[in-house]
């Protein structure tokens, strides 16, 4: 009997050890990735990286000014498209939660969220490249926008449902229409959270490569024209990473560092903002 109990206790502590190891096993690659990105990236990251154009093979130095501007434009276009559609769809899902149409919209949003990014690229190619026979910034922005819509819609829905029902009821009791109650009372109450969600979505979308490969394509030159192909940080990092040149590898690491910093910054900001919102709600 006591031998059996000892065995069971041993197994149990082994299990605790396994779980702790699992955590370490997951944190190890995270630490390794961050370590390499920072230590390799910092060497090529300087002011030139942000202000200079890429140099031809063989000349060291140069930067990714065009790709940085490109990424900002693509992400901006995606936001212009996805924020209105996402937020208003989210409003619908929250306001009419429980209706069959709202469930269908939620299902569509979750489905879209799970569509592989490369498939979104093929879709955007069919919609925005093929008819015009031209890779373009607009096509890239469209592809990223399509990826962003479900994230923003679902975040908005979640956050609106967190707003206390008494706020909405108060507005309605004062004779406000539903639109008025939503747009001047409920939505503003959830706004900080929605802004955070949008920021996170922008950061995530800025790190996408696959949907851009055959929509915005790439551009060796500085361009801000919406109907022309445009460089982006991610595609540039990809091009450089699979090239055989040392100088380009260094640039790729620097690009990766910029991408990771951006994501890290947005995640941390969102984390802090989320905590503040929760405290606000907790206070009532």
């Amino acid at each position: 009997m006591s031998a059996g109990a000892g065995w069971r206790r041993l197994l149990s502590s082994l299990f605790v050890g396994f779980c702790a190891c699992a955590v370490l096993l997951a944190l190890l690659p995270l630490a390794l990735i961050l370590f390499f990105v920072v230590s390799q990236g910092i060497r090529a990251l300087n002011v030139d990286f942000f202000t200079h154009m890429p140099l031809p093979v063989g000349e060291s130095g140069g930067g990714m000014a065009n790709a940085i501007v490109g990424t900002l434009m693509l992400v901006g276009l995606a936001g212009l498209m996805a924020v209105p559609i996402g937020v208003i769809s989210g409003v619908y899902m929250a306001e009419y939660a429980g209706t069959r149409f709202a469930s269908t919209v939620r299902f569509a949003a979750d489905t879209l969220n799970g569509v592989p990014s490369i498939v979104i690229g093929v879709f955007a190619y069919a919609v925005a490249v093929l008819p015009f026979r031209q890779f373009s910034t607009l096509a890239g922005g469209f592809a990223l926008g399509v990826m962003m819509i479900p994230i923003i819609a679902r975040t908005t829905e979640e956050l609106l449902l967190l707003v206390p029902g008494s706020l909405r009821e108060g507005a309605l009791a004062l004779g406000a229409t539903r639109a008025r109650a939503v747009f001047s009372v409920v939505l503003p109450a959830a706004l900080p959270g929605i802004v955070t969600g949008v920021m996170l979505a922008l950061a995530r979308i800025a790190g996408e490569t696959a949907p851009l490969l055959f929509t915005s394509f790439n551009n060796r030159f500085f361009s801000t024209r919406l109907t022309q192909p445009i460089a982006s940080l991610t595609v540039q990092v990809y091009t450089y990473a699979i090239s055989p040149y040392q100088d380009w590898h260094r640039q790729a690491w620097a690009g990766a560092l910029v991408l990771v910093m951006m994501v890290l910054f947005c995640s941390l900001a969102a984390r802090l903002a989320t905590r503040r919102i929760e405290r606000m709600h907790a206070r009532g």
């Binding site: 069971r8 149990s12 396994f18 779980c19 699992a22 955590v23 997951a26 944190l27 690659p29 995270l30 390499f36 990105v37 209105p84 208003i88 769809s89 619908y92 899902m93 009419y96 149409f101 919209v105 949003a109 979750d110 879209l112 969220n113 799970g114 569509v115 592989p116 990014s117 490369i118 498939v119 093929v122 069919a126 919609v127 679902r154 975040t155 979640e158 956050l159 967190l162 004779g175 229409t177 539903r178 639109a179 939503v182 955070t196 950061a203 800025a206 790190g207 696959a210 490969l213 394509f217 991610t234 990809y238 990473a241 790729a252 990766a256 994501v263 995640s267 984390r271 929760e278 907790a282």
Partner: protein, 328 residues
């Protein structure tokens, strides 16, 4: 407002609001339908020409116009399943540790760190894969004894690039998704389950095993969610798998996946048939992920419908919020 007191006009304003917002929501549904429609349209040439043979043929020769997708399906399934085999025990271990064992102070930071894995762009995984992971895998391959190298599982040149590297990267990328769902599902297990087990004299392992068993449907859902992510992952995989459309059982052989072949060859596809064949691969990828994701959401939903938990796959945005409200 002029319509104050007039029930009818206030009602019609509400209807206008409903229709106005509904149009935007409809747009979301429209996109999903448009993806299915346009991919089918553009794949039609290939569907008509090759029929089902497309999925049975191993020949991928753009020059002679012969296209068979079997090597890509094989590579996608092999890498994803292998990644799940690695990631699932680790994910469950993490979920159990955070939900059941971790000191309260560590809980939030651990959640944040594991979810950070989901936030790192896949291109960064790919870059790290090429320059750090692949050389490491290569040195493992060269250090294997000759006896082992003769096994089909380990045959092939020790390039580093290949199935093992791809599966490892995928496993790392899938962990945050599976573990966060498993954690949520564990949280939704009634405390009475655990307390009952402890009251009967169970050890920690036995109590947690009871909770895991109770939560099994949701955990399977979380594993499937990870599967859906692994199937569609593109950049990180294409950078480390070697991009060679040849079926092999070996962990070390360079292979190819459905997502990777689209990424690599789409802009080079000169003729209509070639492009159409690639779109057909995309269409099937879309269909498979749609089925896997729907099934996974259904399983998770059936488990957590009592405590509202987001399963949108947006790990770091909505979910912690929803989870914390559910817990508090």
């Amino acid at each position: 407002m002029g319509q104050r007191g007039k029930q009818g006009s206030s009602g019609s304003a509400d209807l206008g609001f409903r229709i106005g917002t509904g149009v935007f929501a409809l747009f979301l549904i429209g996109i999903v339908c448009a993806i299915g429609f346009l991919l089918t349209r553009d794949a039609w040439l290939s569907i008509q020409k090759f029929g089902l043979g497309f999925w049975g043929s191993q020949v991928w020769n753009p020059v002679s116009g012969e296209f068979g997708a079997l090597p890509f399906i094989w590579g996608t399934l092999y890498s994803s399943v292998l990644a799940l085999l690695i990631a699932t025990p680790i994910s469950i271990g993490i979920a159990v540790f955070i939900a059941e064992m971790s000191p309260a102070v560590l809980r939030q930071p651990l959640v944040f760190l594991t979810e950070l894995l989901a936030a790192i762009p896949s291109i960064v995984y790919g870059l790290w894969g090429i320059f750090v992971l692949v050389p490491a895998v290569r040195s493992i391959e060269t250090s294997l004894p000759d006896v082992a190298r003769r096994l089909p599982l380990f045959s092939g040149p020790p390039l580093g690039l290949g199935m093992l590297a791809a599966a490892l990267v995928l496993a790392i990328m899938v962990i945050p998704f599976t573990s966060s769902i498993a954690r949520e599902v564990l949280k939704s297990v009634p405390a009475a389950q655990r307390e009952g087990a402890y009251a009967l004299g169970a050890t920690r392992l036995e109590a947690i095993r009871a909770a895991l068993f109770y939560a099994r449907t949701g955990i399977i859902g979380g594993v499937m969610l990870g599967f859906g992510r692994a199937l569609g992952e593109t950049m990180a995989v294409t950078m480390v798998i070697g991009n060679n459309p040849r079926i092999s059982a070996s962990l070390f052989a360079p292979q190819h996946t459905m997502a990777a072949v689209i990424a690599n060859e789409f802009t080079e596809a000169a003729d209509q048939l070639y492009l159409s064949a690639l779109v057909e691969i995309g269409l099937v990828l879309f269909t498979i992920t749609l089925i896997v994701n729907s099934l996974s959401r259904l399983l998770i939903w059936s488990m957590t419908r009592s405590s509202r938990v987001s399963v949108a796959g947006s790990v770091e945005t909505a979910e912690p919020l929803a989870a914390e409200t559910a817990a508090g």
